[in-house]
Structures are given as C-alpha cells and as structure tokens.
Symmetry: C2
Subunit: 224 residues, 2 copies
Amino acid sequence: MRLVVAKCQVDYAGRLTAHLPLATRVIMVKADGSVLVHADGGSYKPLNWMSPPCTLRESVGDDGVVEWTVAATKSDDTLRIRLEEVIHDSDHELGIDPGLQKDGVEKHLQELLAEHTTTLGPGMSLVRREYMTAIGPVDLLCKDAGGSVAVEIKRRGEIDGVEQLTRYLELMNRDPKLRPVRGVFAAQEIKPQARVLAQDRGIECVVVNYDELRGIEDPSLRLF
Amino acid sequence: MRLVVAKCQVDYAGRLTAHLPLATRVIMVKADGSVLVHADGGSYKPLNWMSPPCTLRESVGDDGVVEWTVAATKSDDTLRIRLEEVIHDSDHELGIDPGLQKDGVEKHLQELLAEHTTTLGPGMSLVRREYMTAIGPVDLLCKDAGGSVAVEIKRRGEIDGVEQLTRYLELMNRDPKLRPVRGVFAAQEIKPQARVLAQDRGIECVVVNYDELRGIEDPSLRLF
DNA sequence: TACTTAATTTCGGAG
DNA sequence: CTCCGAAGTTAAGTA
C-alpha cells in the first residue's frame, strides 16, 4: 500500500467523464493496483478511483510535471493524475487481510422471523422458508386462521420490495391449491411510499425489531 | 487528514455487528472525524468505517494497548479499533476540496433523447419532458402515428424501471384525453429479466448508445 | 461465468 | 428537513 499526499489534478474518462480541479488530496495505491483519491471529508467514497484489475504508468509531461495514468485492464476506463507537488510518499507492506465477519443482515432477519412467526400476526405458523415459485423464492410461506400468507422480508422496506411481493401474490393466487394467499411485508424500516403502495395492494406492513427478536431467541441477551 | 498504518483489530456495532481480526491495515481519519479502515485490496469500499458526524476518543486498555472509540453523533453506532502496533502515523493539512465535476449520467441521456426522439422510433416527436402525473414525472411523453408514448429512461435497464413505467402507463391509460398510451423503455443496457418483463407488459425496449447520440448532437465529435 | 440481490450503501435533488 | 432515486455503485451468493 502506497500513500501519497499531493497537490493534484485528476481526470477520469470511462463510463462517465469527471474532473477534479487542483487541490491537496490523499492518494492510495493498493497492492492490486487499484487507486483511490480521497479528500478530507465526504464519507467512505473516494472523489475518484480506479477499480482492479488495472495498471499504473508514471510519466513526466512537457512541463516537467509527474503524471500517473491508471488504465483498467478489461475496459478503456482511464484515470489521469497530475501530481503538481508531492507532500508525502510512503510505502507499506500490509499482507493479505483475513476479512470481515458480519452479523445482523437480511438473512439473519429471515432466520429469526421463521422462528418467531407470531411476530407477523396472531396464530401465524410457518409452512416453508424460501418457498419456490416460477419467478423466484418467497421468503416465508405461512398460514393462519385466514389461510395462506406470503411474507417478503427486507431490512429496509422500499417500493421494489412491495412490487416483488405483488408479483408472487399474483402468481400464487392462480394456484387453486394455495389461494387465497394474502401478503405481509416485513422490514426493520418501511418507507412511506412503500407503505402507501402496499396498502393499495392490500398488503399488510409489519415493522420488525431485530434486537427484540434476537432477545426472544436468546434469553441471555434480555436486559432483565 | 491523519494516516495511520497499524496492526489492529476492529469491531463495529450499530446497524449490524462486524469484526476484523488482527492484521496490518491503513486507517484514515478525516478532518470531519470520519474514520476509514482499508486493506491492501478490495476496491474503494473500506473494510470498516464510521461516517460523519462522529467523535474519536483515544484510550489505553489494561493491557497497555491503545484503543480508539469512534462514536456516531446521531445514533449509537460505535467503531472500536485496537492498535496493537503502530507502523506509521502522519498528519496532513488538505484544506477544503473544490469538488467533482461529472458529465454523462442519466440526466444527460434524457436531454439527448429529448433532442433526438426519432432514436426511439420512426416519426416519434416530443410532447413534454418530465411529464407530471399523480405518482411522479414520466421522463418523456412523445407521440407518433400510433398515438401517445410514455418513455422511461435508465442508464441500466432493470426490472424496477419496467415496473415504474408500468405504473405510469396504468395511470395514464385511465385518462380519456391521453389514452391509448404505449410504453418505451430506453436504456444504454437492458438486463434479460427486464426485457422479458417488458415484453410481457407490451412495452418496447430500445437500447441507446450515449456516444452515438452525443455524436449526432455535436458533429465535431464524429470520427470522420 | 453470468446473473441476481443486498448494502453499515453514499450522494444529490426536490418538495 | 425528509424523502426519493441514481450510482463509474460494490460485493456476495446462486444457477
């Protein structure tokens, strides 16, 4: 990993065209050749970058200014960096990273809801997880006193989730052995537009709390 | 901007839980307090990070190991970094960045297509850009010999774009002054699933080439 | 390998 | 300020 702090100008040409005026920035060159240009703010996304695989070529222009040309291997995307003044330049051996361990994403939410279907409504019981249909798997197929219920689970409930569930319901309600099938849209957070569309489609919305569910799952996590 | 290279362990708790085992990594601390933990590969996304606004507190554990606790201001997200061994530590004044100038995104595609509606079909002419409906603006409203045509433009054509256009068509075909309205789905690239769904809905797909359109727009850009 | 879906998405614009 | 859609999205899982 090479770290360079420099007064630089950057131009990108590829899927779009972008330009960065002269200013002091941090440039990271990773072991795989990828390059990131960061400013002193603006969250984790770099101002400009080149994804691997790519190659870096250093040259000196007519005016004596050092210029880096980073070219993608599989497309003709290029990133040009003019280094007007280098303030810092260091190189470090990092080795391969053991990688990130995650917990608490959509899959876990589905597992927890499959264990605690009553969260989705009184008398609700699980028929199948990942119930397969011609157009894809329904997250949960449940049933209660009123009949079959298809459940779509999202971490964040937005319009396309409601559309997805609508497609499943359309299809399943053509099957005489299943129909009538109602829909439940379950998410940790449901956006207003998604809620309106769901209501319009007769789909019930359920906001689920991951921590609460996990608390049911593992009583040792309860606060009292 | 502070740059630290260190053998470290990282733990994140917030919207999810994540853990990074002990390894050598680069840590960026930006002026706004945000922190990025990068490995020597894996594109522009950090392994772990904390978005601004947040605050960094440095402490020393019982075992004498320096530990950073980065806490978000508006939520209870926290990032803990145990610095087992610091290999490099430097600080740099960057100043504010003038920002990125972009060109060639969806908006431009819409502008170009509005100028060259015949790309979308023979005899096609523009009625209005951003034609307003109760559920949002249709990118282009056109007409040809066959009547009105609603055009949805995407850089990459996927299922949700077709769904969006379907909703517009449903609504517009209820209006006696407009109907019948046909649909055209225009994108630089159309995914197979989206194409199938569009066909099922009677929506025509058009693949547009940004560079070609720009060439029509500005003859000086033509290659001959 | 190609395609689909999720993401601690981030970012910008409009109401 | 919130809400909504686009992104050079990236990354992971599956057929």
